[in-house]
Amino acid sequence: RESKLNLMKATKVGIDSPYNYVIVSLLVTTIKFLLIPSYISTDFDVHRNWLALTSSLPYTQWYYEKTSEWTLDYPPFFAFFEYLLSFFAPYFDPMMLRISAEPYRSSQTILFQRLTVIATDLFFFYAVWHFGRSLKSSQVNRLAIFVLTVANPGLLMVDHVHFQYNGLLFGLIVLSISYMVRDQVIMSSIFFCIALNFKHLFLYIAPAYFSYILSHYCFKTKDASGFVSRLMTVGSVVIFIFAMSFGPFAIHGQIPQVLSRLFPFQRGLCHAYWAPNIWAIYNIIDKILKMVWLKNGWEVPSDVASMTGGLVQETSHLILPTIRPPHTLILIIVFLLPMMFRVLKKPTIAIFLMAVVQSALTFYMFGWHTHEKAILTAIIPLGLIAGDPKMGKMFYFLGTVGHFSLFPLLFQPTETLTKIFLLLTYVAILQSMLLVLHSGKPIGLSIMEAGYLWGLVPVGIINSIGTIIFPTLPFLPLLVTSVYCSLGIIYSYIRMYIHLLRS
């Protein structure tokens, strides 16, 4: 990961040598191996259960199994993926394939599952390399994009500590984007649909795809028949892939059940830790207003729910109007429309790439029960366009805040050092890569932006030892983190939206 310029001269290796990609990949993979003994979240038990149920039960029961709370709530392709993995599981520990309501975490199980994440990340490396080749830029720039994408600390924290398979999933997305850059729209659609059928979270960026394909691919042809045939092509690709995925379940009339698993709506507006979006600000304003109301002796409706009390409950706002799912849906649509119109009017690839980020961020910003991990859906595509100076600066800013906002996921003492060192190292690498991408021009953060980022340090301190300093306010660390990060994320959202609409 050293500055390519110095290192290459010292080791007599050319800039375009595949060796550089190997070294970077190996360094990141070494970190992943070293992270194996880290804290594991319940997502690990969820995936282990999916290994168990896909291997033990016929597919007709996959979406009905509910021995534990780790029920299948990803689309069918992911279930098939777990089924494939389950063939290798017996070589490590056959007992992990038993369905049980109790967690099963033998060391062999942990090793196996961790190894599967590390192995599937190889696909992510391939996809990012593929994307680099799609770009019309210098070898050094391609390598820089590779480094800053592959070393993403958010992926390391979420995939290799908390435990998920985002490397594999984002590999599909990056590959899809790569094909779009190469103007191979059908290939791009194929991979995007595949990704959707692995994790429906990628619906977040579907509006961008929809608008772009419609205007760039379908409307491109000047006559009606061409339009129809292209529309049909894309449509049939989409339908075909969805049919492969949901078909088996549709045949058995299980679609409503599957959908209820994929879109559970009974949880509250916010997770236990408020995802740093608009609702975090909304919540805090509501709380402040409540304090103001109480101080003035005005009437306040009674409410028992504490929104960051550690439990996921139905939340109701006291002073401000209570938000319900339909409100969030309306807001999302309202804020998606300008982006979609922009793409429809000017369907260039640059606009598309920005629209992907904006679409993901819109869902993140206004969504119902957004999980903080979803910030990666915006950050990773943004990193791909960090070659542009403005976008590079935004990536530096949003990337730092966004990755920091993931810190509460890793709350054990051991992980205190892990997350700090991961983020710190990445920020340094990112600075170097941005210097390379922008030909030595500094990133150019304004005083306020830089000051805000430095403000993350005291927030981080509060996050780590806040409960020791203020034992009477157990929710304070999460609250401060959430609200502070949401300021930065909202700021990025607005700035990037303006840039998208104006550029």
């Binding site: 990961r1 050293e2 500055s3 310029l5 110095n6 290192l7 001269k9 010292a10 080791t11 007599k12 290796v13 060796y19 190997v22 070294i23 190996l26 360094l27 993979t29 070494t30 970190i31 191996f33 070293l34 992270l35 194996i36 003994p37 880290s38 054990q412 003492p413 051991t414 205190t416 050092l417 892990t418 060192f421 991961l422 710190l424 190292t425 340094a428 690498i429 600075q431 170097s432 210097l435 030595g440």
Partner: protein, 470 residues
């Protein structure tokens, strides 16, 4: 500015690798009653903070020397005291006298790992950076620093097994840097500090002595005498300051007891299997049966001294900085190969100064580093550091192999194949029941062969290779 960012990245990546290695088990984790080196260090924090100074090295009712009694010099004790005070402030139970034996919670482990990382940040890395700034041009500094920092064996021992080698090797690097800057008095102070952290740094003492002596006399003879006296005064005063509290509180007996703890002569010629001469010939010549303890110690002393003579002569005759580094490594290697009571971790002592030579002798240094890590494999396996061992080893090979010449590459791959073969055999072939130590001995003897070859190669370089100005 670009170089500054690059140095920053080199440092941060190395810190990240160290911190992540720290996620793995430490020595003796969860293995009562003795546990391991981690518990020893924690125990030293316990006794230095809970007991008065005069008792630190003495056997008392509160201080059972059989349970990890202090056997490092005073600086270790002082630093343990500081760390212990901090630990006590956050978690008194972790330092409570007697009851905290085996204390190991996630928070306390975080603290302990943090002390090693902190030592790296405050001592080892700045020393390495100073050294690199002193003798490399700025465009080569990032990679030279990388070579001094990314040493898998050091990372695995300090941040995996758990030790503070960085606190003795850091001041050693500082001393070397000061020698390169032609500041013998400051260098002596730095070396005395290193020596007072771990007496194993005596492995370097002759090299420092010979070089400083020879340099002292580079002008006139009378000037030389004055310089030597000045050096002597500096060394004695530094020692005195560090040892004074023990003299004050314990008197002559206190000092004597300290020395007894530092240089125990009651143990055998080698403990665990180690890749030196005596252990390698032990299957064929049963040393313990032929020679009594004292004779063996004498034999070791004589062989060690003899092994140093050629190099010391060279260094004395031509006290160049390069000769100094050669002698440093040769002396440490000679001690490792031939002296009494050597631990496998002591291979770090010749290795760390050797990495200074990486840019000029990449094949030698890289193979030396790989074999050093390999020679400690039994220890690392026992600690549960199998995966970090292979992960860091693979990364190291990938980052260094391209720097090698084709012939060097061939040699390395040959050696690595041998190592790989030994790993495979150890993993899959069943042990013959009559020879329980066969595979370990295979490993150590294979390593010994390499180390002896390195020793010979360095002597050859020092005697026959024309020195170029680097």
């Amino acid at each position: 500015e670009k170089a500054g960012v690059t140095i920053g990245i080199v440092v941060l990546v190395n810190l990240l690798l160290r911190q992540c290695t720290g996620l793995w088990p430490h020595s003796g984790q969860g293995i009562p009653p003795m546990f391991g080196d981690y518990e020893a260090q924690r125990h030293w924090m316990e006794i230095t903070t809970q007991l008065p100074l005069k008792d630190w090295y003495h056997n008392t009712t509160d201080n059972d020397l059989l349970y990890w009694g202090l056997d490092y010099p005073p600086l270790t004790a002082y630093i343990s005291w500081v760390a212990g005070r901090i630990a006590e402030a956050f978690d008194p139970a972790s330092m409570a006298l007697l009851t905290s034996r085996g204390y190991d919670t996630p928070s306390s482990k975080l603290f302990m790992r943090l002390t090693v990382i902190f030592s790296d940040i405050v001592v080892y890395i700045p020393a390495a950076y100073l050294l690199v700034k002193t003798f490399r041009q700025s465009k080569n500094q990032p990679i030279a620093l990388w070579n001094l920092l990314f040493i898998p064996s050091l990372i695995l021992i300090d941040h995996g097994h758990f030790q503070y080698n960085n606190l003795s090797l850091g001041p050693t690097l500082l001393a070397i840097a000061l020698i390169f800057q032609d500041r013998p008095y400051l260098a002596s102070i730095a070396f005395v500090l290193a020596l007072n952290y771990k007496q194993m740094c005596l492995y370097y003492s002759v090299a420092f002595f010979v070089y400083l002596l020879s340099n002292a006399f580079k002008d006139t003879f009378s000037r030389g005498i004055i310089n030597v006296v000045k050096l002597g005064v500096v060394v004695i005063v530094t020692f005195g300051l560090i040892w004074a509290p023990f003299g004050v509180y314990g008197g002559v007996d206190g000092i004597k007891q300290l020395l007894i703890r530092l240089f125990p002569v009651g143990r055998g010629v080698f403990e665990d299997k180690v890749a030196n001469l005596w252990c390698s010939i032990s299957p064929f010549i049963k040393l313990k049966l032929i020679f009594p303890q004292e004779t063996m110690a004498l034999i070791c002393l004589v062989t060690t001294v003899v092994s140093l003579l050629p190099s010391c002569y060279q260094c004395f005759k031509r006290p160049t900085k390069l000769n100094f580094v050669y002698t440093l490594v040769i002396q440490a290697l000679g001690f490792y190969l031939f002296s009494f009571q050597v631990h496998e971790k002591s291979i770090l002592l010749p290795l760390i100064p050797a990495t200074i030579l990486f840019t000029d002798h990449p094949e030698f240094v890289s193979l030396f580093s790989v074999v050093s890590t390999f020679s400690m494999y039994p220890l690392l396996l026992k600690d549960g550091l199998l995966i970090p061992y292979f992960a860091l080893m693979l990364l190291y090979l990938a980052t260094t192999l391209p720097s090698l010449s084709p012939r060097g590459l061939q040699l390395q791959l040959l050696s690595i194949s041998g190592m790989g073969l030994i790993h495979l055999v150890t993993a899959f072939a069943p042990l013959p029941p009559k020879l329980p130590h066969l595979y370990t001995l295979l490993l150590t003897t294979y390593s010994f062969g390499h180390f002896f070859a390195f020793y010979a190669y360095l002597n050859y370089l020092q005697w026959f290779k024309k020195e170029k100005q680097t």
